[in-house]
Amino acid sequence: MASDDKGFSSKEYVTHHLTNLKWGQLPDGSWGFAHSAEEAAQMGLLSIHVDAMLWAIGLGVVFLLLFGIVARRATAGVPGGLQNFIEVIIEFIDTTVGEIFTYKNKMVAPMALTIFVWVFLMNLMDLVPVDWVPWTMSLAGVHFQRIVPTTDVNITMGMAATVFLLVLYYSFRRKGVGGFIGELAFHPFPKVFAPFNLVLEGITLIAKPISLGLRLFGNLYAGEMIFILIALMYTGGVLMFGFGGVLQLAWALFHVLIITLQAFIFAVLSVVYLAQAHEVADEH
């Protein structure tokens, strides 16, 4: 299966596809893009995944422009095709959020919309054949390129962290510092076990953003990996080529479901966590 004719082993191929375009301090002390996976790994704290960031921002801007233009032009009259499509999504998010989140907060539904559409667009990049963009970019002299931002754990955890910060913010605002700490300390066991409760509830609290970010990352990373492995089959002769083509189509079709579902799950769980943050216990 190895594409030795290109001077690449399977391992190198996979590693190459899983290496971000990283900008930072090079071993010789200068600043620039890493030229190899080893160089990238050696970069210190002051480095950034340029490809993931740019694709994420670019797709986010696509979302904002698309929805922004439609929202600006939206009237109560008869909606056109694109407006209809956008409004179906907005309506869907609005209903979903309305069922989960019953408190007054004008920020939650737009946040859910942003998450759902943005994450979906980022996930959608997974359906672009794995070699197209990296190969085109390599012609332009860019060595690494990962076009699916959600296969980068930093991207998914970054979003989860923001959601977590919002959860903390609204928890403190709704319940007060004492109320929130009390909720963590006096559950599920009586007050005598407060330290124990605090540890237990603290873990529960921390587990939310971690599971939120890692779930999305894991699903997309695994999906991406399978696409890369299928792509490897294309160098294995006519039979493998054909089989690989069928597999890629099948996996892509299945993946359409996964990327939508994962985007939806991320959005809904964020709303659920925020709803819990707004929940003020009436008992005690």
Binding site: N20, K22, L45, L46, S47, I48, H49, A52, M53, A56, I57, G60, F63, L64, F67, G68, V70, A71, R72, A74, T75, A76, G77, P79, I86, E87, I90, E91, D94, K106, M107, A109, P110, M111, L113, T114, W118, P149, D152, V153, N154, I155, M157, G158, M159, A161, T162, L165
Partner: protein, 156 residues
């Protein structure tokens, strides 16, 4: 794999995008949708109202039609009755007229026959006189026998 700058960068970008969506995208879109919902609801209500109005006016029109039909029937009946009575009247009148004409004709006939009888009587009288003259071959004094002749004429 962890990269702090990417992590923090994405957190901030996410927050900014959410902010933009909250401020500039969600409100106009959802407002337009709510307004449309309101308009559609109003339109449906109006349509229902109009439908009700149509049903009402239909009923009214039917009422009017029914009344008109009944009235027409009445008029036709009255006309028929009047026609019948007129025919009756005309018939009675005609009968009367016929009787009158018949009466007049009868009177005329009788008058005519009287006159004819009178003429005949005169003629007979003359003839009788002439006959008697011839028979007697002598003059009869008209004046002398006038009374006798008159009596004869009357007897005829």
């Amino acid at each position: 794999m962890f990269n702090l700058a990417t992590f923090i960068g994405q957190s901030i970008v996410f927050l900014i995008f959410v902010g933009i969506c909250v401020k500039f995208i969600w409100p106009p879109a959802i407002n337009a949708m709510r307004a449309r919902q309101q308009r559609i609801a109003e339109g449906l209500e109006n349509a229902e109202k109009a439908e009700r109005a149509i049903a009402e006016s239909n009923e009214e029109a039917e009422d009017i039609l029914r009344n008109a039909r009944a009235e027409g029937q009445q008029i036709i009946d009255a006309a028929r009755k009047q026609g019948t009575s007129m025919i009756e009247d005309a018939r009675a009148e005609a009968r009367l007229e016929g009787e009158r004409i018949l009466e007049a004709a009868r009177a005329e006939v009788s008058q005519e026959s009287n006159r004819a009888r009178e003429l005949l009587r005169n003629d007979v009288a003359t003839l009788a006189v002439a006959g008697a003259e011839r028979i007697l071959e002598s003059d009869i004094d008209r004046a002398k026998h006038a009374d006798l002749l008159d009596q004869l004429v009357k007897e005829l």
